[in-house]
Symmetry: C2
Subunit: 376 residues, 2 copies
């Protein structure tokens, strides 16, 4: 058994409050998942991540990237160390992506065949081959609670024909992913110590910006009876109305009793909007990446619109206020805008950490508030 | 009143256990002071610093560099923000150096006159002038509990004549530092809120590697009746036996009822050795700087010699042990060598933080153990 998903309540807008029970713990949904690319949520220590947010509850589940960990330190090394949880000392739930997105966005000289993708590492140019079977082997070795089918990510914009052909490949690869996972799922490093619990494999709906392809993709994946479904290939440059429309349409075709995950979105107001539409899981590098660029999220007043504050601006040089006066995170409880500006301007690494911790808290707090509303 | 210093016990070797009562708190001596160059102990959050070490007590007192804070964000800005404690949200004691050492080691185009030093900023080449009076004004604006007289740091090696002339300048500057401090010491930003308590100004014994000059310097400074004395101009490239000899000799000439501070040393075994000789205070960038270069300190067995471990070495790739199995710091309690190596090799910023936190804990633990021995 990989997971149990329970929806407690669904409101008129489709938003739902639920619980996802995974081998490493329980996740209250809707949930935002910080991204720990190379087994580290950049600049943030795991102990801090366990307490981030105004309620001190911290991140319930985090992501790690299969592509990055495959290249360095290698999935077999991580398996020998007991899996990615033990390797990075994170005992709460985790999710790995399939590696597909990074193969298509980071590596060079990709050659896609029906069998898989040949590519060169962005680190050293070395040649590698990823197939659905290989992605499964890597993700089983990493041992996250949730893993993802290997998919092709189509470029944006893409023609209808190109998108349709890519989607067909993604479906074939999803079936191969599932077949390989089913016959190997007992090989996860913690299988025995967790009493025979194992990982769960989610499908990924593709279909670009074409609603009929999204429908076909959802239907085809639902036939495969996977325990959860992601909506992939969004937030790739399309207008935000299109993202929302694709999500809204796809949600209609996905089973209501399974978790629904939108990959790689978005700004704080977007994650709130999608959660209220019925999305259960989201992940994004934005809180940490923006933090490292000196961009922090805040609201001028509680419940007001989200403001992106550039902490390096001169106007904050002597501003004794916290980033957000209504935020209860450890950064806002202790540090002023003036100090954060000084750290950033002076190139002090602590500034990147504090910006990232606040932004993560902002995302987690946003989701906690939405969960409160949806719980009724 | 700036400080009260009490020696509880002195052992046969001259090592002593004591307490230094400062406006922002009590410091048990001998003490190691982490360096927070630009109002940040590099890569380490203040809350972590308050708990670093196996006993969870954290750093009792930290340093900040006058030169760095003068250039950026500026001492007047920090004064307007309430002083450096409030600016960086560190409510425990602090010490600022005089800026002298950095002016001589970091800036360019220095021109020394009896009045002071003209120099160019290492940041933008802008021209500045530091005199003893100006260093005092800057340090009063910063508002650390302990500040240092402005001194000239002679290069190493230096001839007897050069060292003697430089020392004479340092003595004249020490007197001017004291005079200016005495007439301005009520201008510290927290003077009123701390009920009229103020800062303490320490002298700095110079004299290079010449014992007779060290003696003359100590005697001259003792005549000035300062509340504490530092030994400066060491660990500048001389053999370690010479450092030890200069410290041992100088300690003889310094009053036993005042705190004695050796600036800018050293390796963990050195700080232990000097503390056992009767040095009460030491600071060094080494734990954090080494950490950022992947060097961590450990002992193969409790009480054994200090080992410098290069965490990026291949042999640690699958090593599940903590850096130091007898260390109780947050890094050793949670993370393996394998994970720390992965972080460092992958360029993950968290690696620099964790290495630094462990090294700081190693230094603080070393000093806590020495204090325990000296307390008898």
């Amino acid at each position: 058994m990989g997971l149990v998903f329970q929806v407690d309540r669904t409101d008129a807008g489709g938003g739902r409050h639920g619980r996802l029970v995974l081998p490493h713990g329980v996740v209250e949904t809707p949930v935002f998942m910080p991204v720990g690319t190379a087994a580290s949520v950049k600049t943030v220590e795991q102990g801090v991540l366990e307490e981030t947010g105004s309620d001190g509850v911290g991140a319930q589940i985090i992501l790690a990237n299969t592509y990055h960990l495959y290249l360095r330190p290698g999935h077999e090394l991580i398996a020998r160390m007991g899996g990615v949880h033990r390797f990075m000392s994170w005992e709460r739930p985790m999710l790995t992506d399939s590696g597909g997105f990074q193969v298509f966005s980071l590596s060079s000289l990709r050659k896609v065949t029906p069998d898989g993708v040949e590519f060169r590492s962005h680190l050293d140019g070395s040649k590698h081959f990823f197939s659905p079977e290989h992605s499964m082997d890597v993700q089983i070795a990493l041992g996250a609670d949730v893993m993802m089918v290997f998919d092709e990510c189509v470029e944006h914009p893409a023609t209808y024909e190109r998108t349709r052909d890519s989607m067909a490949l993604t479906h074939a690869w999803a079936q191969r992913s599932k077949d390989h996972f089913e016959t190997n799922k007992e090989r996860v490093p913690w299988f025995e110590e967790r009493g025979g619990k194992t990982q769960s494999l989610f499908g990924i709906v593709q279909g670009g910006m074409y609603a009929d392809l999204r429908k076909e993709s959802a239907e085809r994946l639902v036939e495969m009876e996977l325990p959860g479904y992601a909506i992939g290939g969004l937030a790739v440059g399309e207008p935000r109305e299109v993202t929302r429309e694709m999500i809204a349409r796809t949600l209609e075709w996905l089973p209501k009793d399974k978790p629904r995950y939108v990959m790689g979105v978005g700004y704080p107001d977007e994650i709130e909007e999608y959660a209220r539409m019925g999305v259960d899981m989201m992940d994004c590098v934005l809180p940490t990446r923006a933090g490292r660029h000196g961009l922090v999220f805040m609201r001028e007043e509680a419940g007001g619109p989200v403001v992106r504050m550039n902490i390096k601006r001169k106007e904050y040089a002597e501003d004794a206020r916290p980033i957000d006066e209504s935020c209860g995170c450890m950064v806002c409880r202790r540090y002023s805008r003036a100090y954060l500006r000084h750290l950033f301007v002076s190139g002090e690494a602590l500034g990147l950490t504090l910006n990232s911790v606040h932004n993560l808290a902002f995302y987690l707090d946003t989701m906690a508030r939405v969960r409160g509303d949806l719980a009724g």
